[in-house]
């Protein structure tokens, strides 16, 4: 399963990672800044100390000349510059017109702002010059005259290279970055692990809910721990148990009512058998009776016939409901079977058949007979002539079409024609049919693994049955 970005796992991982990245960035930034400040402060202090110490040791006369003093020479300035100089360092010493320089820098590299400030005190500034960072310490030498310090005009600017400090800070940054990556990776692993911890019960619950939905009502989950997920699992188990109970109650009620229908139908069969046996006697006698009693006898006979069909259909339907309907497949000549079906019921004259003689299919002949009889019977009763039955072989099965040319079934009634006791149109005579014929036809088609459908035609109705090759 590829987790979508909307998935719980992805969301957990993303959240964890974001938190880890933010936290490690914050920590690294603060740490880096602190280290940097400390380093810079230290470097500045030592540099300033050095400059102050060296300049404190100036032994040649500067400033307003006192009696007996000669102005300093450039040699003395150079010497002063030399004392402060070191490898990598650069020193600029200025006194009036004299400028002494060691190293690559000169007076032009001293920023004006620093130059100005250097008159008052020891000042520092960090500055990138020609691609490298330098710490510039500048100051003016003061000379005590009668206990009052007096500016002498001797200014010194020392350029301390900060290459080493930058290098240290770079190393620190790299270390912090590596540490950050490691923390994020650890966070990722932890996120995946905890996502799994959360998702495993969720997935189990989801699978259980699916099983429940598929009808396995005895699905239960073990409850571990006392957290919210355990609570949810316990609720799920309760719900499943309640569902199972009510479904089993409903099922047993339904089974009871089905059994009742089946039992009633069977019980009705015995008196019907007795009545049916004497129908011939009655119908012959009716001809000799006066008009009114004859009509009464004929009515009774008609109703016996109707009751018989109803009971037969109820028994048939209850067999489907009980799941005891079985399929006895055998090779059947389709044209012959249709012929037999129509012949037995005396419908040969009323129905036109289009089926090639050679067409055979693996069918349950009794059920096939029931399907055709119910569809044709329906067409004859409710539709109009001509009624046409056609059979043809399709790529993967057998197709039977029953077409009538009557007034047709109202469009809104079409989806319900296969429902039990559904009568299309209130105007249809109640006395015609059991109302179960098409439901039985459909059940028989489904038992074969086939399909049945109905479509309105101009005029009439077309029923199409498809039975698969087996």
């Amino acid at each position: 399963m590829i987790p979508l970005p909307t998935g719980l796992r992805a969301r957990l991982v993303i959240t964890f990672t974001l938190v880890a990245v933010t936290a490690s960035m914050l920590v690294a930034t603060i740490g880096f800044e602190l280290a940097k400040t400390a380093l810079v402060t230290r470097t500045e202090r030592t540099s300033m100390d050095l400059v102050v110490r060296e300049l404190g040791g100036v032994d040649f006369p500067v400033g307003r000349p006192r009696p007996g003093e000669a102005a300093p020479t450039s040699r003395e300035l150079n010497r002063l510059a030399q004392t402060m100089s070191a490898p990598g360092r650069s020193v600029v010493v200025e006194y009036g017109d004299l400028v002494s320089v060691t190293g690559p820098m000169n007076l032009r590299d001293v920023p004006n702002e620093l130059y100005g400030r250097a008159k008052q005190s020891v000042v520092t500034q960090r500055r990138v010059i020609r691609g490298e960072l330098w710490l510039i310490v500048g100051t003016e030498v003061y000379r005590a005259t009668n206990g009052v310090p007096e500016a002498t005009g001797l200014r010194a600017f020392v350029f301390f290279p900060m290459r080493a400090d930058v290098g240290q800070l770079d190393t620190l940054r790299a270390r912090l970055f590596q540490g950050g990556i490691a923390i994020v990776l650890i966070a990722l692993v932890v996120a995946l692990f905890s996502a799994r911890q959360v998702l495993l019960p969720v997935r189990r619950l989801s699978a259980a809910a699916q099983a429940l939905g598929e009808g396995r009502l005895d699905t239960r989950l073990p409850v571990h721990g006392h957290d919210e997920l355990a609570g949810l699992t316990a609720r799920f188990n309760d719900a499943a148990a309640a569902l199972e109970l009510s479904v089993s109650e409903l099922r047993s009620l339904e089974a009871m009512s089905r059994r009742f229908v089946a039992d009633v139908s069977h019980e009705l069969r015995t008196p019907l058998t007795a009545m049916t046996a004497v129908t011939d006697v009655l119908s012959e006698e009716a001809d000799r009776l006066p008009e009114a009693p004859a009509e009464a006898v004929r009515l009774v006979l008609r109703e016996i016939e109707r009751l018989r069909e109803l009971v037969e259909h109820l028994i048939e339907i209850s067999r489907f409901d009980a799941g005891t309907a079985t399929l006895n497949l055998e090779p059947v000549n389709v044209a012959d079977a249709i012929d037999d079906c129509l012949g037995t019921r005396g419908w040969n004259e009323q129905v036109k058949v289009n089926a090639s003689q050679g067409l055979t299919a693996n069918l349950d002949p009794r059920r096939f007979d029931v399907i055709v009889a119910n569809l044709v019977g329906n067409a004859l009763k409710h539709g109009g002539p001509p009624v046409v039955v056609s059979a043809r072989s399709t790529e993967n099965g057998l197709e039977i079409r029953v077409r009538d040319h009557g007034k047709g079934i109202p469009r809104e009634a079409l989806p319900h024609v296969f429902d039990r006791f559904f009568k299309a149109g209130a105007g249809r005579a109640r006395s015609q049919g059991s109302g179960l014929g098409l439901a039985i036809a459909r059940a028989n088609v489904h038992l074969h693994g086939g399909t049945i459908s109905v479509r309105a035609q101009e005029p009439g109705t077309l029923f199409t049955v498809w039975l698969p090759h087996t």
């Binding site: 015995t270 058998t273 007795a274 129908t279 006697v281 018989r308 028994i315 090779p331 079977a337 037999d340």
Partner: protein, 226 residues
């Protein structure tokens, strides 16, 4: 109209009376009993031509009565099944019933079945045919195997003669149902299968490996002697 002596066993008094009434009206002479035991006691004395047995009977049921009748003689049997349940029918046919009808049955249908079963096998002009040990005398309607007479019920005899009349030819079940049982109805091909099984049990040396009547899967049966 042929009058047949019918033995009817049916426990429900109304159904019994009604069937008696209807069959008598069709011209048959009917003797009826409420239980199988009673019927079996009287069967010898009455010598009916056909028995109609309800399957659901108190005491021994119709199928058991059929089985016992078969042991005694070749009396044709029609079972009256209340359910039309497949199991009942299969068991009934295995017990030797010639045909079955499902309640509630129309008197005309029942009468047609009775007449079809009682229809005598037609005697042929040419008399006897010999297939090894099996000798079929079509004139005398007698079958002997290795000199011993085989007792076939009328239905079995008619089916055998029908097969023998078309040696080497495959006859489908529909054809046989019409020729032997007079069924124009979409009848149950299990009638044919059960009857073939019974004939095989009587004439085949090894019924599981038949040499006379061969099954052609998906079509029907063929009589082709070795």
């Amino acid at each position: 109209m042929r009058v047949a002596g019918i033995l009817l066993v049916e426990d429900d008094p109304s159904v019994r009376t009604a069937l008696e009434l209807a069959l008598t009206r069709q011209g048959h002479s009917v003797t009826s009993y409420a239980t199988g035991e009673e019927a079996l006691d009287h069967i010898r004395a009455r010598r009916p031509e056909i028995a109609i047995l309800d399957v659901m009977l108190p005491g021994i049921d119709g199928i058991e009565v059929c089985r016992r009748v078969r042991k005694l003689d070749q009396l044709p049997v029609i079972l009256l099944t209340a359910r039309g349940d497949d199991l009942d029918i299969v068991v009934g046919l295995e017990a030797g019933a010639d045909d079955y009808v499902v309640k509630p049955v129309e008197p005309r249908v029942l009468d047609a079945r009775i007449r079809a079963i009682l229809r005598r096998a037609e005697s042929a002009a040419s008399d006897r045919i010999t297939f090894g040990d099996l000798v079929i005398d079509r004139g005398a309607l007698k079958v002997t195997l290795a000199g011993k007479e085989i007792h076939l019920t009328p239905t079995e005899l008619r089916l055998l003669l029908e097969l023998v009349r078309h040696p080497g030819q495959v006859l489908n079940r529909r054809y046989l149902l019409r020729a032997v049982w007079d069924h124009t109805h979409i009848a149950d091909s299990r009638l044919v299968d059960a009857c073939v099984q019974r004939i095989r049990a009587k004439i085949e040396p090894k019924p599981a490996e038949p040499v006379f009547i061969h099954t052609v899967r998906g079509f029907g049966y063929r009589f082709s002697p070795p």
